[in-house]
């Protein structure tokens, strides 16, 4: 296992290593961040607002005089876990449907594909607006919205992959042996899609981070006093001309997280190394 890990690291190009470092860093922050936070996430600790970095507030304070460091540490938890959860869910669901469509073909394929078209063609942010208006904002709902938004995209990719694989001889061999569709899907087809699917999960992860920040722009983000990284940027945006850390830090966090994930994905893609 450790041997595999070291050889994996050794084979990773420099950009991939940078990406991996960034991703691991943010994962660690997401896991441990809140316990490192010097202040409670909603505490009004600074008399001033948008103050600069100081020994009390390492990253300054936000528009209400709250500690930016603490808020970013908490915010990255929401962003990373929501995005990761939604990306994994979207890929699992999309790929399941893709396998079903590719193996059953015919009407099943047509109906699933049309249903996916339906979801892809409804603008996701407006869809989110409707859902939040109907059910109120909550973490499960945000997760659901982000998942629903990216299922069709994954479905398209996974279906194309599965279609190519289903046509290959080893699937014919399994069919000729008399294997059932579940075995064919899970044992024959799926293992050969793992790499591109991993890359796609990474890509969806980046998209979800950006979607969440878009949703928080529209006021549909995480419940206060908590905030995901996008909401942090949004709520402090009036400090943009003052160059407030309260907006720069979460924006940088989003950027490093997404760039890191992208670099890692590119490095993982076979032949994807630029």
């Amino acid at each position: 296992m450790t041997g595999k890990l070291t050889s994996f690291l050794r084979n990773l190009p420099a950009s991939g290593r940078i990406g991996l470092t960034l991703v691991v860093f943010w994962l660690a922050i997401a896991l441990a961040g809140p316990s490192l936070a010097p202040y409670s996430v909603g505490a009004f600790v600074d008399q001033d607002v948008f103050s600069g970095a100081s020994s009390r507030f390492w990253l300054g304070s936000d528009y209400l005089g709250r500690d930016v460091l603490s808020r970013v540490l908490w915010g990255s938890r929401y962003t990373v876990f929501l995005a990761l959860g939604a990306a994994i869910l979207a890929v699992c669901i999309g790929t399941s449907f893709a396998l079903l469509a590719a193996i059953r073909g015919g009407w099943t394929d047509e109906v699933i594909s049309r249903a996916m078209d339906t979801f892809i063609s409804i603008p996701s942010k407006i869809f989110a607006l409707v859902l939040v208006a109907a059910f109120g904002s909550s973490l499960p709902l945000l997760l659901l919205i982000a998942t629903l938004t990216y299922v069709p995209g994954n479905f398209r990719i996974a279906r194309a992959l599965a279609m190519n694989l289903v046509a290959l001889d080893f699937v014919q061999v399994a069919r000729a042996r008399g294997e059932g569709p579940v075995h064919i899907a899970l044992r024959e087809v799926l293992p050969n899609m793992i790499h591109p699917l991993l890359a796609d999960t990474g890509l969806r992860f980046v998209f979800v981070v950006l979607l969440l920040s878009g949703l928080s722009f529209l006021g549909l983000g995480v419940q206060p006093p908590h905030a995901d990284l996008g909401s942090l940027v949004r709520e402090n945006i009036s400090g943009i001309t003052e160059g407030a850390l309260a907006i720069i830090v979460p924006a940088l966090a989003i950027a490093t997280l997404t760039v890191g994930a992208n670099l890692l994905i590119d490095a993982l893609k076979p032949g994807g190394k630029a």
């Binding site: 892809i120 409707v130 878009g214």
Partner: protein, 326 residues
């Protein structure tokens, strides 16, 4: 082996395909309307309540509701609306007291112009970046462009737009910070007021398109026919233009169509920041005011745009590929 194809016959072969796609598109449109109707049915309140606002008394709401026909059961309203659509009548807006068609015809040209200009610009940029990257695979230019597209991907849309405004409008005073599109504006004014929205949207879509283009072109560059062309002494630029592009155009157009379908309905953030009177904000408005006929029609337009783009992408792929044409 098949007989040589006459060019007309290959076009004629597209017709049944288009027919089939239009039929399945109708199915998708129907599904979309059903989803929108169902989901919006979950929304609290209705048009009457929202129209009367905070100050409404229950009697007022009830009477307005009756007048709007909102007191009829949901399925009756849906069938009614569907019947109207089939006859080409999108119905009356509950809120604006105008035919939905008229409201939309005020906004649709704006959205189409914005999407169109962005599509042209971002396609050109994406193709340039994608192709330059692909032919320099592994080179310095490739990694530089890769970093550029990555950084673009990493920026939340609203941040790009806001920074654009701060730099180009507030600091430099070059461009208007809001899109003041009037129907009687000159082309110059129009372009000026669209510059920043187009810039922001281009940043959003171009990265993904460029990356897809790179992948598609790089894939073709590995094909034996490219080696054959090299061995014929064909200059590289000619290989890319005349050999690779006709083959890469299918996947590239597909990726572009996917990205571009975002430009209509996905432009909500850009429309908000630049105060752009487009369809996305109209749809949000329809959600807020519970204006179902308007909401449905907007959703239909977005869906139709997406399907049309996909169809165009498929047709281009077929026209570019004689194998599919036959």
């Amino acid at each position: 082996m098949s007989a040589p194809e006459k060019p007309q016959s290959s076009l004629a072969k597209l017709v049944p395909l288009i027919g089939k796609r239009v039929l399945s598109s109708l199915l998708t449109l129907f599904l979309v309307s059903l989803v929108i109707f169902t989901v919006s049915g979950l929304l609290p309140g209705d048009a009457a309540q929202e129209l009367l606002g905070q100050s409404a008394t229950p009697e007022q709401v009830a009477s307005l509701r009756h007048e709007m026909g909102l007191d009829r059961p949901a399925h009756v309203r849906y069938v009614d609306w569907l019947g109207g659509i089939v006859r080409g009548n999108a119905g009356m807006s509950y809120v604006a007291n105008m035919p939905v068609g008229q409201i939309i015809s005020n906004r649709l040209p704006n959205s189409l112009t914005l999407a169109g200009i962005t599509a042209v610009i971002s396609t050109v940029i994406a193709l340039t970046i994608g192709i330059s990257s692909a032919i320099n695979r592994g080179g310095k230019l490739d990694s530089m462009l890769n970093i550029t597209t990555l950084s673009l991907v990493a920026m939340p849309e609203f941040l790009i737009a806001t920074l654009g405004v701060l730099v180009f409008s507030v600091k430099l005073l070059w461009l208007p910070s809001i899109a003041l599109v009037t129907p009687d504006a000159s082309w110059g004014q129009m372009l000026r007021s669209m510059a920043l929205p187009v810039f922001s949207l281009t940043c959003v879509v171009v990265a993904q398109m460029a990356r897809m283009t790179r992948a598609a072109v790089a894939d073709q560059l590995d094909r034996p026919y490219v080696e054959m062309a090299k061995l014929k002494g064909v200059p590289f630029s000619r290989i890319v233009l005349f050999h690779v592009m006709p083959n890469a155009v299918g996947p590239v157009v597909n990726a572009m169509a996917l990205s571009l379908s975002y430009l209509m309905g996905g432009a909500i953030i850009v429309e908000t920041i630049f105060n752009f009177p487009g369809l996305a904000s109209l749809m949000v408005n329809a959600v807020t005011s519970r204006d179902m006929p308007l909401l449905q029609s907007c959703a239909m337009i977005f869906c139709a745009t997406y399907l049309a783009l996909m169809l165009v992408a498929d047709i281009v792929a077929i026209l570019a590929n004689p194998r599919l044409r036959a």
